[in-house]
Symmetry: C2
Subunit: 576 residues, 2 copies
């Protein structure tokens, strides 16, 4: 492709309204343009990368035995009413009426449509298992679309759905999809990890997220230093300390702590570390039939630890969804303002995180505004309590797999696989005749990849101050051909044209920068777009029948003989 015949659309300045680096670089490199909030047009450079991602996804899914279908983006409301999601989903589900005032939605996902298809087309166990996928536009009317294509309203997704008669069969397909996803992200050239995930509102027993690792990632992921264990911090278990709780050495004392509320303030006031302080949170209790049962539960954590809401919500005494007590409710429960509360003397259940339960001679609020207790010791000073895992793991914690300790890194979720169970098949009565001739409800898996999101995630992971650094597999072009001052030199022009022809004939995707621009402008654009391999043609090197090669990622340079360029590129460019 000649830049003069291409829509390059690069920008020097960083657009003011782009918050994250991938969004800034996608705008600057001429990959996307905003049409309206959360709606993006992909320019040619963006489409080239998008199509490459699509191709790799499609090839690996086909290899894994998944079969491609294509379902409408516009879906009739009846199916959503049948599954219950018409009522359950908020305004993110875009609802509208057609010219005949019938209700429709713009599909944010396709569980209903595929389940409806399968209950019609599949009648016997002989037709199972089936694993169907599509690469299709989705629409979610996000309240606050942001970060460019990272959280857009209209986006491209690969979604797959599998159908089975047994958990064993589902597990086999799930494993095959796990492997396909691993192959996909490996071929894309991304540094990624598959992590255990919470299956959340979707339900089901097992779920893995695939994260592209990047310091800007929205999610925290815990890794073992010595095994393959990786889990979303939401999910990673904090093991109880192995040692016994130290013995009490101090008496409990009440001290005045005026205007001191947060853990850090208390620690600083008393000359202690947050590790020596217990913090207490109050949440609604799971309702019971017993009207005299307490309405709240106290959760106690070590001062340096963070509550893990997913774990807390799963505790049988805690109400779902997790709901914090208001300041007024806390005052009524404890007699004190939130900065002075503690677990001692409460008449509601107290659940203590394993690490907090290990404390001795600790500090906590006195349940009297402006006062704390010091030298507090469990059981000596407190009533009996439950212990549980309530906190986010932190770096250095023992890994739940039993090997090594945990590291915490940040990731961007680009894939998610679920063992769905019968949530949709039950609601929509999707069953087949099993081997015994009886109707049996299907078991389902579902498997998503954010195709357009991968572009942003790849950039968050692969960039420097000059621009994007594409992995070879998904670069919009493999090679940038940069002739210096070609329009003033017939010799340069001839060499450039010849190399362009040779490289193109050898099957490379070359961006030939034939614009009448200064070399500096051309270098800057090619670095910004992130083309992995650059060939620069200049007068001096040409005197020696040479051109300069530069590798975008390493910055390594080399002089190549003109007649060796094609062979050198064949050795250096990685094929997807």
């Amino acid at each position: 492709m000649r830049s003069s015949q291409y829509l390059l659309s690069t920008m020097k300045e960083t657009p003011a309204d782009a918050e994250v680096i991938s969004h800034q670089l996608m705008l600057r490199a001429g990959m996307v343009r905003r049409l309206a909030s959360g709606l993006y047009t992909y320019l040619p450079t963006g489409v080239r990368t998008l199509r490459k991602v699509e191709r790799i996804v499609r090839e690996e899914l086909n290899k894994a035995g998944a079969i491609e279908v294509l379902m409408p983006m516009v879906q009739n409301a009846e199916l959503w009413q049948e599954s219950g999601r018409w009522e359950q989903m908020d305004a993110e589900l875009l609802r509208f009426q057609d010219r005949h005032q019938r209700d429709f939605v713009l599909g944010p996902t396709h569980e209903e449509v595929i389940t409806d298809l399968i209950r019609r087309e599949v009648t016997s166990y002989k037709q199972l298992p089936l694993n169907l996928y599509q690469i299709q536009t989705k629409f979610r009317d996000e309240r606050r679309p942001r970060f460019g294509v990272m959280r857009a309203r209209e986006f491209l997704m690969k979604d797959a759905y599998s159908f089975h008669l047994s958990q064993d069969c589902l597990q086999k397909t799930y494993d095959a999809m796990y492997q396909a996803y691993t192959n996909i992200f490996t071929r894309l050239g991304l540094n990624f990890r598959a992590v255990l995930a919470d299956s959340g509102a979707i339900g089901g027993s097992v779920s893995h997220e695939f994260h592209v690792l990047a310091s800007s990632g929205e999610d925290a992921i815990a890794f073992s230093t010595e095994s393959d264990y990786a889990a979303n911090v939401e999910m990673a278990a904090a093991l109880p300390p192995q040692a016994e709780r130290p013995a009490a050495t101090q008496p409990q004392q009440k001290i005045s702590t005026p205007n001191v509320g947060s853990v850090d303030e208390v620690a600083s006031f008393l000359g202690l570390t947050p590790q020596q302080i217990a913090k207490t949170l109050f949440v609604r209790a799971e309702p019971t039939d017993d009207s005299s049962a307490p309405a709240f539960v106290a959760l106690v954590l070590r001062g340096d630890h963070q509550l893990n809401e997913v774990k807390a919500e799963k505790h049988p005494l805690v109400a779902q969804p997790l709901t914090f007590a208001s300041d007024e409710e806390i005052k009524a429960l404890t007699g004190a303002l939130p900065g002075s509360v503690g677990p001692i003397g409460l008449n509601i259940p107290v659940i203590v995180d394993h690490s907090a339960a290990q404390l001795a001679d600790f500090v906590c609020g006195a349940n009297e505004t402006g006062y704390h207790l010091t030298g507090v010791n469990w059981l000596r000073d407190s009533a009996a309590f439950d212990t549980a895992d309530l906190r986010n793991v932190v770096a250095g914690d023992a890994s739940p797999c039993g090997k090594g300790s945990l590291e915490i890194r940040r990731g961007i979720e680009v894939g998610h696989i679920f063992q769905l169970g019968d949530k949709y098949s039950q609601a929509m009565k999707a069953g087949v005749l099993n081997e015994e001739g009886k109707n049996q409800i299907l078991t389902m898996g579902c498997y998503g990849i954010g195709v357009s999101r991968i572009l942003a995630a790849a950039i968050e992971q692969n960039h420097d101050e000059h621009g994007i650094i594409w992995p070879d597999a998904i670069a919009p072009f493999q090679i940038a051909l940069i002739p210096m001052n070609m329009h003033k030199s017939v010799r340069i022009q001839q060499a450039a044209e010849q190399l362009y022809q040779q490289l193109t004939e050898a099957g490379f995707e070359v961006l030939f920068d034939d614009r009448k621009e200064r070399p500096g402008v051309m270098f800057a654009d090619m670095e910004l777009i992130g083309i992995p391999h650059q060939i620069v043609i200049g007068e001096r090197n040409l005197d020696q029948q040479q051109v300069e090669y530069k590798h975008r990622r390493s910055g390594d340079k080399a002089l190549l003989a003109l007649d060796a360029v094609v062979a050198e590129m064949q050795a250096r460019v990685q094929q997807a």
Copy 2:
């Protein structure tokens, strides 16, 4: 692909609600399923063909220098208000609001979005010309979706838009796109014709439609028997007769024709042919400033000819859009009911089609209910009149190109290219600095292909009583491998598995029918799906180390040596 692991979904019965053969066969062959009115899910067999069409379209457009982009399906209303189409378009343009009550549309086409993009990204003549395309889902809320994917509401379209500073430049891109379309439909293996078309409401000077020829086509196309001339019948000029009008030989007479109205009835009543009768139609006249000007115009055609509404509408005396007089208005104008009207004695302008103007001694209504005139002769019996081309051409007419005569055949429109001019660029003020440094409004072309519609059109052209007959290039599978009673014979099974492996490794797309089905069921399914090449493995031929080959289209059969199958297929299967 093994059928046992595939979603074949063939049906024996013809679905009652499918009117046209392509819709019936797409349902029966398991290509599509209806989700709701005008909304279809593509099953695996449908997707395979769809993706092949897409690939050929993409390859040929890239070759022609068009550059791929991807624009959102959801578009903000502001752009449509700016172009004027927000008001102009009827309910076919689906309008809706997002969660913040902002107005959006589901894109039926993308002129507004691309014109907005170009006016932002392109500022100088140096960046032109540009030709951008996408393959994207479109939505048109048709009042009456029908014929399956032929006229669906959600469908897949390739749309391209080109931008220029001169008509010459537009013409060059237009010619290149004409050639690209010719290459595409040729590679798809379709019998098609490019025909001159009316540019209709879109305006602009030049327009061609690409039609797949099929007896069931909605459009009539006129071809020259001796040149490349082809035009939509809407557009094909009927040349005026060369000969002079014969002299009058009969006196004009008024005869009673009770209860005789239509041309056929009059001809039969009088023992004449429709060619000897003039029929008269009344339409609204183009309004003028002169309030005394007549409100209607009479149009006269030979009894066997059909009015061409596109031609009539273009006549300067005729109002746009073409509006026929009501029976009451005709009564007021002529004093007679519609079955008895004629051009003689009217006090409104009379426009006579060239062929009708050639009549002598003809018959027409007497403008008195129940009476006709015979022996009528122009000018002797009538006032002066205008002549014009008002009719559809018919088979045997002289070709307007000057060579040969016309044949009429039916076609299905699958592509349309337009020289748009400045309709959108003017309305949306899309200009660039030209070589003189002055702002100049862009000239545009636009180019559409109905990607999903091609599937239906190809089937309308290629089928028989057993099912679809795919051209090799877009067949869902190239080869059907049909082992007879494989589940009862290890020998058959081994031969089938071996052939399947060999053919797959040689790069063929094979559907290996490994179901436990009777041979008859398998043959019927493979014929229905329309796989072009079939290989049947049976005991008797296997004794001779042979298999039977059958060509779906010709029905030709041949015995192939087992070890020659791959080579034979390489010779017989046409590559796209």
